[in-house]
Amino acid sequence: MADHAIGHSVPEARPGMRFRLEGLGTAAVVALAWMALIAISAIHRPDFLSHQTILAIAFTMSIVGVLAVGQALVGISGGFLDLSQPTSLILTALAASRLLAAGLDPAFVIVLTLAIGALWGFANALIIVHGKLNPVIVTLATNFIGLAALFLVFQIAEAPIDSGFRAFGRGSFLGLPNIWWPMIALVLVVGFFLPRTRYGRRAIAVGGNRFAAQARGISLRKTRFAIFTASGVCAGIAGLLFAASSGPFTPASGTVYLLPVIAASILAGVSLAGGRGNIWLILLSVGFLSTVPTSLVFFGLSSDWQAIFQGAILIVAVSIDGYREKWVAR
């Protein structure tokens, strides 16, 4: 049934098939590494297996997971990386905080925040497409510009502390943080639809070989607009979750997310060359990466070690990606 739903043309069907079948090896490796980390930590400190640990890891997963979906979409479609996520995260968090403080209806605030995120992504795409520029350079530049502009607008912001929005951000449902559920929903939905819809398969095809995709009539421009706008929407969702769950934030508060988000995306098997990756695997990679810092604390290591481990994991993941590319090329 799924094969039937892939599309009308054979050329478009191939990337989708390959897309869905691959990643099993990556999933196994990451899952094994995660389980091993949990087991070692639990042997060292049996109280590692507590509800508090699950909550701590799940909170860490939430925002990183949402941003990683946007990052993975950009990567799979051949855009390499969206380096403007730290700014779009804070821009949307600021918008949500200010609009809520102004007394606007939360539902309206959510819609408006997502629209701002989408607009940010659309603006990135506009520069990339019409300037015919490298997406990495463009998003790096817009991140700098956006950050500087944010500093002109505010120094510290925070969503109203007594609002239902903040209560949602602090609360839990079925033993897991409220903000974890939108993340899992997003991963599952995007992971399901990406290889099963025409737009999704086109994004994969453009990432795999843009010249071949263009030869088949797939518009690179439209794909870029769709993907970067979607990445902006992901940043909008992350901004909402961030504003709801975090305390006072500054324009630079988003920068700490970039490294774990990129690491999570690559560790999930998203190819830096584009055309390959499985969104569902983000759950495993984000889960593993979010467990590392918590585990380090149980081993008595300071949080300073976190960046060292994340950086090392990123290098390993990139190396595996490079090896995989060579293997595929053979």
Binding site: T60, Q155, I156, S246, T250, P251, D304
Partner: protein, 354 residues
């Protein structure tokens, strides 16, 4: 030939235009040279709202005096601070106020300014050769720690499950004075808290940046219920409080911060029991009143460059959350400060215990 002959003129025009636009060597008139020129290097650390306000107040006070004012941001970076020193010297400022977010650069900065014979005021971190204006950070830490200790004694009979320190290692000695001072102040009131109850995490002085580390620390102490938090500043302390809220353990967490950044306004966390105001945004009042004004008048004061014997001492102002509710928020304080008679400090205007 025509092209050749016009090139030097063209180049001259370009240089002249560039010089005008960049303002290089623009102080040419006798009047401009006579005007006192104050340079201000703001910290540029994104952590805190008061960093920008420090420059705003200095600018306003300089303008009140009819001085020229030049502001540069050190962008929380030692290399930028050094570069900015070169610009101040090149621009011929008569005195500089230097917020020292990057104390590692201070010796080199001192050397540069000394060779240019430019007097420098430093805030809060002493440097030989710089006029010291600031708080006694250790005294501020001790005061905050004692205040929190009194609450813990009353509520928990000095028997907390955890005392959490929200460190900010990059602040160097200031972190040791403030966070360590708070621990010592707390020990004065509650001397018998066992060593294993004292734990730390790196907050970087920011609520959101320190949040994951604080969450992990609390997860590693799942049975701790009664938790006290001290730290470098309000932001770091809030990181631990927010983590406890996320993990459903906020009922019995009490924090006492430093710097008063998050204890005023209508968005104060109920678990932040108090803080110590330094009114950092208003430091320029002390610097100008006690150092720069006499220099501008041609009577430089004696160089006092240590925290123990400062050129101007800023009074710490410990306040409970209840007391802080009566203190205006920072933008309002700045407005009222600039409307007050010259030389009036924020401590005199706003500290409930003054």
């Amino acid at each position: 030939m025509k092209g050749k002959s016009s090139s030097p003129l063209h180049a001259l025009a370009v240089v002249a235009a560039a010089t005008t636009v960049l303002g290089v060597g623009s102080v040419t008139g006798a009047g401009a040279q006579d005007k006192f020129k104050l340079g201000m290097a703001v910290g540029g650390n994104p952590c805190c709202e008061w960093m920008k306000a420090q420059g705003d107040v200095a600018r306003a006070l300089a303008e009140q005096r009819g001085w020229d004012y030049m502001e540069l941001s050190n962008n929380d970076d030692a290399a930028t601070a050094l570069k900015n020193a070169g610009i101040f010297i090149q621009e011929g400022v008569d005195a500089v106020i230097q917020f020292n977010g990057q104390p590692s650069a201070n010796p080199a900065l001192a050397q540069r300014f000394a060779s240019a014979n430019i007097p420098v005021v430093t805030y809060d971190i002493a440097q030989p050769g710089f006029y010291f204006v600031g708080i006694d950070n250790l005294a501020a830490g001790l005061a905050g720690g004692e205040a929190l200790g009194n609450i813990i004694k009353e509520k928990w009979n000095c028997e907390p499950d955890l005392v959490i320190s929200a460190e900010g290692a990059s602040a160097g000695i200031v972190n040791e004075w403030r966070t360590g001072g708070m621990r010592d102040g707390l020990k004065k009131v509650c001397p018998d808290i066992p060593a294993e109850k004292w734990v730390s995490f790196e907050s970087q002085g920011q609520a959101t940046v320190g949040l994951p580390a604080a969450r992990d620390l609390l997860a590693a102490h799942p049975d701790a219920k009664r938790m006290a938090v001290v730290g470098l500043n309000d932001g770091g302390v809030l990181a631990a409080i927010n983590a406890a809220e996320q993990l459903g353990r906020a009922d019995e967490i009490i924090g006492w911060g430093q710097d008063g950044a998050f204890i005023t306004g209508d968005n104060v966390n109920p678990h932040l029991a108090g803080s110590v105001f330094y009114f950092l945004e208003g430091y320029a009042v002390y610097a100008l009143r006690d150092v720069i004004d006499p220099i501008a008048a041609g009577n430089p004061p004696p160089l006092k460059d240590t925290a123990g014997d400062p050129a101007s001492r800023v009074q710490p102002c410990p306040v409970s959350a209840e007391e802080a509710a009566k203190v205006p928020d920072m933008p309002e304080r700045v407005k009222m400060l600039l409307e007050a008679p010259p030389g009036t400090t924020e401590y005199e205007l706003f500290c409930p215990s003054a």
